[in-house]
Amino acid sequence: MAVMTYLEAIADGLREAMRADPSVIVLGEDVAVYGGAFKLTRGLLEEFGDRRVIDTPISEAGIVGAAVGAALVGLRPVAEMQFADFISNAFNQLVNVAATSAYRAGGCVPLVVRAPCGAGTHGGPFHSQSVEAYFFHAPGLKIVLPSTPEDAKGLLLSAIADPNPVLFLEHKALYRSLRGPVDGGLAFVPLGRAAVRRPGRDVTVATYGMMAHRSLEAAEAAAREGVEAEVIDLRTLLPLDLETIAESVARTSRLLVVHEDRLRGGLGAEIASYIGEHLFTSLDAPVSRVAAPDTPVPYAPPLEGAYLPSAERIREAIVRLARW
């Protein structure tokens, strides 16, 4: 078991998949010669050649559309968006063309769209977005957002092996800042299962991505006040592992959902509604949400800092719920 950064772990997963299966190809803007805007695909061109690692023109719809066509005739394309923000240009191909294919025609479209998402690197409104909520409503799509190097590799492997289109979000602020142990080889982590990162009896915190880390930090701080929060990292956002959340809330009777994405219409809304409806009688406090405000992601550090939910805000919410 090696220690890798989050970025290295994703690259490792990609490399392992390409070694295991000649039908896995990589395409996107500057992924080959340059090795990707974040240098994540560096070395793939050298190892797998220019038939399997393909630089494309700036054309997100063309890239995802081409991935759909290639998938329909038996490849397993992994397309890269330079930034998750730009997937807005491929919205139709992903949501309408790819995701509905199974339902409409029984046709499998095994493709992965990798997209670096998230704020915290001063990218401004169009290089910092969380895009998961836009796609969460789409039938037939899967969505992943890992928070650890191990999951990043293992979930990517599962995403590539999955017969459905998968939007694989990577938090760019974790790329080089986070290191962790990663198994070698085809170390799959299954899609659709949340991970309990920290057990706790008082409050359940359901979260993902960068906020999994901030929530753990907040849980430690809350523990110093005598409140024990259970932190669940969703990992796969679609299909969503509501069972794990429900099982925890059945014990804690309190739920806080935390995400970096904006509040309104974010994933927290679905989770809160589901738990609110199905565990109504178990709840001892209102299901609460901590999320970004309903604004674009601002550039200047004081604004971006205020935009992102802080560990302090999360701690406060945990303690408030526990004492409710």
């Binding site: 038939r51 890239i63 995802v64 005739v73 038996g74 309408n96 063309v97 409409r104």
Partner: protein
């Protein structure tokens, strides 16, 4: 490690292309490799498309087909001629006026009826209507209604062939209206820079719904397409052999690894955009000009001229087509409508290739 898109029916139709012994050799002007049997096959596919679509119009008027109703009336030479140029391993991305291409690629016409009628016998099991039949067997790619989207998808299939060094070709069908769309553009541009084995077959029927071509695109279409750095030619879209010849050139070129090309098949939309459209915005002169050039009647006349179809054969062929359509319709009508309990099934694919 196929993606699990299994063939929905045995392939095979439209493949034998030898010249027949014991019949007068067809005239010089025939495309290379096209013999009497091919000529009759081409004609039969065109007639089958025409007959099936006329039947659907009838069912639509009766109220048996609900929603919208689109046909490729008058576009038969394009659909059939272009698809006939494909080899047995090639694929096509189709759209709303190319039933004939699907027939050439082996789709049984009963599926056409089953889909229009929303029956479980259709590969979409009633989830889609019209000619929106998706993922038809191994040779017809997923259908999508979004104009332009299928061209990017076809480019992707061509990309896969290039990646695997297979000598296969992808063909995309679309109307001239698609040329304005961003998805078309991105797909075509990608195919051009990557020199992908893609044959682009455009039916220019002079209107996109009510919008005349001059308001969709500025200047000649072949010049627009030449700008993408690919060969582009225009042919009479009501002449099935002209379409076949041009498409064959494009397909052969693609198969040789020389990249995509574009064929503009000039025609005219004789009926409304859909059966709900009276097309009153179309100048009568245009219709008067094009009506006499009906591709099916014209090709029948030519076959008689060539001596490959006499009155008796024509009659028998026509009767055979009508019988096939009757049987297809009856089969589809006997196919049950989907049960509401199916509603939530199959949103995801289940198979997974690895451990």
């Amino acid at each position: 490690m196929a993606a699990g898109n299994a063939p929905a029916w045995p392939a095979g139709a439209g493949t034998p292309r030898t010249v027949e012994p014991g019949r007068a050799a067809p005239p010089q002007e025939l495309p290379e490799g096209i013999g009497a049997e091919d000529l009759r096959a081409l004609y039969r596919y065109m007639l089958l498309q025409r007959t099936a679509e006329e039947r659907i119009i009838h069912l639509y008027r009766q109220g048996a087909v609900v929603g919208a109703c689109f046909t490729g009336y008058g576009h038969e030479a394009i659909a059939v001629g272009a698809a006939y140029a494909l080899g047995p391993m090639d694929v096509a991305a189709t759209l709303h006026r190319d039933l004939g291409a699907r027939l050439v690629l082996g789709m049984p016409v009963r599926l056409y009826f089953a889909n229009f009628l929303g029956r479980t016998g259709s590969p979409t099991r009633g989830r889609e209507g019209n000619l929106h039949i998706g993922g038809l067997g191994p040779r017809i790619l997923l259908h999508t209604d979004f104009i332009g989207a299928n061209v990017a998808v076809a480019a992707g299939a061509a990309l896969a062939f290039a990646v695997r060094r297979e000598e296969r070709v992808a063909m995309a069908f679309f109307g001239e209206g698609a040329l304005a769309t961003g998805e078309y553009h991105e797909g075509v541009n990608l195919a051009a820079v990557q020199r992908l084995p893609l044959a682009l077959v455009c039916w220019n029927n002079q209107f996109a719904l009510s919008t005349p071509v001059a308001q969709e695109i500025c200047g000649p279409i072949v010049e627009r397409m030449a700008g993408y750095g690919m060969p582009a030619s225009a042919v009479d879209g009501n002449d099935v052999l002209a379409v076949y010849r041009a498409a064959r050139t494009a397909v052969d070129r693609a198969r040789r690894g020389e990249g995509p090309s574009f064929v503009e098949c000039c025609t005219m939309r004789i009926r409304g955009h859909s059966e709900a459209d009276d097309a009153s915005y179309v100048p009568k002169a245009l219709l008067d000009e094009w009506r006499p050039r009906d591709p099916v009647a014209r090709f029948e006349a030519r076959l008689r001229e060539f001596g490959v179809l006499d009155s008796g054969e024509a009659e028998a062929l026509r009767a055979g087509v009508v019988a096939e359509v009757d049987a297809a319709q009856a089969w589809a009508e006997a196919s049950p409508p989907p049960d509401p309990t199916e509603l939530e099934r199959g949103v995801y694919c289940e198979a997974r290739p690895w451990p």
